[in-house]
């Protein structure tokens, strides 16, 4: 049962990534990325990280993907990008990561060769929340992360607001 679920989620995640990489339309790529995020969320559930799976769904599918779609709506894709790039370039872009992939999988297989099944997961959501609230655990990183998020979002709003175009750079002063 777990094998079937793992194969399903892994296939959804990797298939979504492949479609996102090779599809010609960037909007289709964005929606294929949603399949990837859903698949990874399912893998999180299989790993016993329920809270992280829900967070992944909420933030990636509900937040980042919508942000990317808005970015697509507010810009204009390059018409030349829709054509398939030069063959040699695509070959390089596929061959180098493929070599990396083989190496990484071989390393992971050798590293985890003596491991059998993973141990049973522990119930995590409540302990995770406690870790973020205890002073001697992760309270300081939690507050720093909240501060960073505030600063980043305010900065993003400031950057993205409508501004008049600057004067051309070669204008004499």
């Amino acid at each position: 049962m777990e094998r079937i679920a793992f194969a399903l989620f892994a296939a959804v995640a990797l298939g979504g990534g492949l479609v996102a990489l090779f599809h010609r339309s960037i909007v289709h790529s964005a929606f294929a990325l949603m399949a990837t995020f859903l698949g990874v969320s399912g893998l999180f559930v299989l790993l016993g990280a329920d809270f992280l799976a829900v967070v992944q769904l909420l933030i990636y599918v509900g937040g980042i993907l919508v942000l990317i779609l808005f970015g697509l709506m507010l810009t204009r894709p390059d018409p030349a990008e829709r054509k398939v790039r030069r063959v040699a370039f695509v070959l390089t872009a596929v061959a180098v990561p493929a070599a990396l992939l083989v190496g990484k999988i071989a390393a992971a297989g050798r590293w985890a060769a003596e491991e059998g099944k993973l141990p049973e997961p522990q119930p995590a959501a409540r302990e995770l929340g406690l870790l973020f609230l205890l002073k001697d655990a992760y309270l300081i990183p939690f507050e720093l992360a909240a501060f960073l998020l505030t600063v980043a979002l305010v900065g993003a709003v400031y950057l993205a607001r409508q501004t008049p175009p600057p004067p051309p750079p070669e204008e004499p002063r």
Partner: protein
């Protein structure tokens, strides 16, 4: 399932994100590739967190804590990067990554 299976899936996701960053000439594709790479890293963190499940609660949950922080950084990065992409599009009327070249002159 064994740890190696999850590591292999994470490696494949990482490679897909890397290929997306290299092969597609569009700033938004590069952002999507970065998101894929961060997702692969998160999958590694959570897999190792499960791998250490017998080592006590605090140790076992370190990976999940780190993954949550990584998700948060991904959100901040996506927001700022998309704001920058909008600005680049407004300035150069293009979102190809080779078009902004003001510093080259």
């Amino acid at each position: 399932m064994s740890l190696g299976a999850y590591l292999a899936v994470a490696a494949a996701l990482f490679v897909l994100g890397l290929a997306m960053m290299i092969a597609r000439r569009n700033l938004i594709y590069i952002l999507m590739g970065i998101e894929l790479i961060l997702n692969a890293a998160n999958l590694n963190f959570v897999a190792f967190s499960r791998h250490a499940a017998n080592a006590g609660t605090e140790v076992a949950l370190r990976g999940q804590v780190f993954a949550l922080i990584v998700i948060l950084l991904a959100v901040a990065e996506a927001a700022v990067a998309l704001a920058i992409v909008l600005h680049v599009f407004r300035l150069f009327d293009s979102i190809r990554p080779e078009d902004p070249d003001l510093l080259r002159e």
